[in-house]
Amino acid sequence: MPRSEEIIPKIKRQQIMSMLAKGERLDGRRLDEYRPISIELGVVEKAEGSAMVRLGNTISIAGVKVELGKPYPDTPDEGAFIVNAEFLPLASPTFEPGPPDESAIEVARVVDRGIRSSGAIDLKKLCILPGEKVWVVYIDVYVLNHDGNMMDASGLATIAALLIAKMPKVAVKEGKVTILDEWVPLPVVNRPVPVTMAKIGEKIVVDPSLDEELVMDCRITVTIDESDRICAVQKGIGGSLTVDDVKYASKLAVEKAKEIRKALPPLPSIEDVEWIVKEGQ
């Protein structure tokens, strides 16, 4: 974490805690209330899919690109995806240019686990020639303004961008791959939604603002899939949780994810879609 964020404003902490004791938050929200969420789809036409998410003043943009590549040796019949997250220096006075630091890597990996555990992308459909050629889906997430809860903003931008992504059909003939000029949806079959909560004193609040993050004791993200199942959990920041905290947080996450999912595009209809046309076989 950047240095200046480490200096915990003690007075602000007391103010926030005494409000929380009365069930109130600095910005007027209920403890279990998200800030306004806006999801702008397709903001980058050159990307296969893209979305800009605003969570209050926090802004994340995600873009999806697909490229041909080799499969991993242990999954020769599956495509692959890679999530990269960066906190841009224009997003906060405390962010510096350079490769992703541990916090950005954590966001990327938690977003990745949500997608992976929920099987959100049907990777088998992205295999062109088993063991030799598959589609690789690159998901890049950039935080443009940091006002707390970059995790949920980034996770939502990612799944939104995937849901509307279009990729080219390919034809395979005698081991030769041709990219066709026909576009099909990415095979997305699940919509994991991350729900991040902060523990401040004895209280748990959902979607912490930057002010709340600066004074929180602990953070927990629970990602929930289309069928209300937990698909990823991440406790973050020094500090600890009780077992009851965790149980409360997981139930709250299920509830919130259901709400938020309504703001997402629907799953693409892929029943009759053919991604790879195998010719002359």
Binding site: V44, K46, P89, P93, D140
Partner: protein
């Protein structure tokens, strides 16, 4: 990794018989420009700019303290600048790490903005300019300079003049203003220019491709005309922002 080539095919003609370009513009016509001021809450100044399909976000932090301190100058602020393209801003995914092109452009953009800023007012500090290309379609260094100058003004940094920038291209033997990616790719030359328009000073000048001396001079003139238009749009966007603030203040 990929063998998949993504590029827009060259159309049979880039300029038709009536002098219209592939996107319908005349040879001396700018793309549609949209400038929004103050779009990022954390930055001291910011600007979102669309120029055709280019989408640029610029932010300014500073003047602020510099770490490590021995890099600071006793008699003026230093200006730092980063031009960066997000990986999905172009058809072929770009690696997130800065390329040599981005390092060079960061340098020339910094040098294009530097002459406009009263750096001597803020000794021992840094002014940081961050330019993110969200979508690129030709001419992003110029669009980045235009946006950064607005963000600097939005941050209240005292300036000698705004800096406005535009490229001139040479396509099928003709000079065209504000070439888009297609024209860059299949054109014969590209010349980005930045100026402090009311002072008549050139602060960025680059060119590649082949031009005769005559073409080069004509291209300079064309660039100056484009820059004037851009300059007006910058001033208009800044005026609107202040009118909006004024309205807000008056209401409250």
């Amino acid at each position: 990794m990929s063998q998949l080539v993504r590029k827009v095919e060259r159309p049979p003609r880039l300029i038709d018989e009536e002098g219209r370009r592939a996107d319908g513009r005349k040879v001396d016509e700018l793309r549609r420009i949209k400038i929004e001021v103050g779009v990022l809450k954390n930055a001291d100044g910011s600007c979102y700019l669309e120029q055709g399909r280019n989408k640029i976000m610029a932010a300014v932090y500073g003047p602020r303290e510099l770490h490590p301190r021995h890099l600071a100058m006793p008699d003026r602020a230093i200006l730092r600048c980063r031009y960066h393209m997000v990986p999905f801003s172009v058809l072929e995914r770009k690696s997130p790490a800065p390329t040599r092109r981005e390092i060079e452009l960061s340098k020339v953009i910094r040098e294009a903005l530097e002459p406009a800023i009263f750096l001597e007012y803020f000794p021992r500090t840094t002014i940081d300019v961050f330019i993110e290309v969200i979508q690129a379609d030709g001419g992003t260094r110029c669009a980045g300079i235009t946006a950064a100058a607005v963000a600097l003004a939005d941050a209240g940094i005292p300036m000698r003049d705004l800096v406005a920038a535009i490229a001139v291209g040479k396509v099928e033997g003709q000079l065209v203003l504000d070439p888009m990616d297609l024209e860059d790719r299949y054109g014969e030359a590209d010349m980005p220019v930045a100026m402090m328009p009311s002072l008549g000073k050139i602060t960025l000048l680059q060119a590649d491709g082949l031009m005769t001396l005559e073409e080069f001079e004509k291209a300079l003139e064309l660039a100056m005309r484009g820059i004037k238009e851009i300059y007006n749009k910058q001033k208009e966007a800044l005026r609107e922002k202040y009118l909006a603030i004024k309205r807000e203040v008056e209401v409250t």
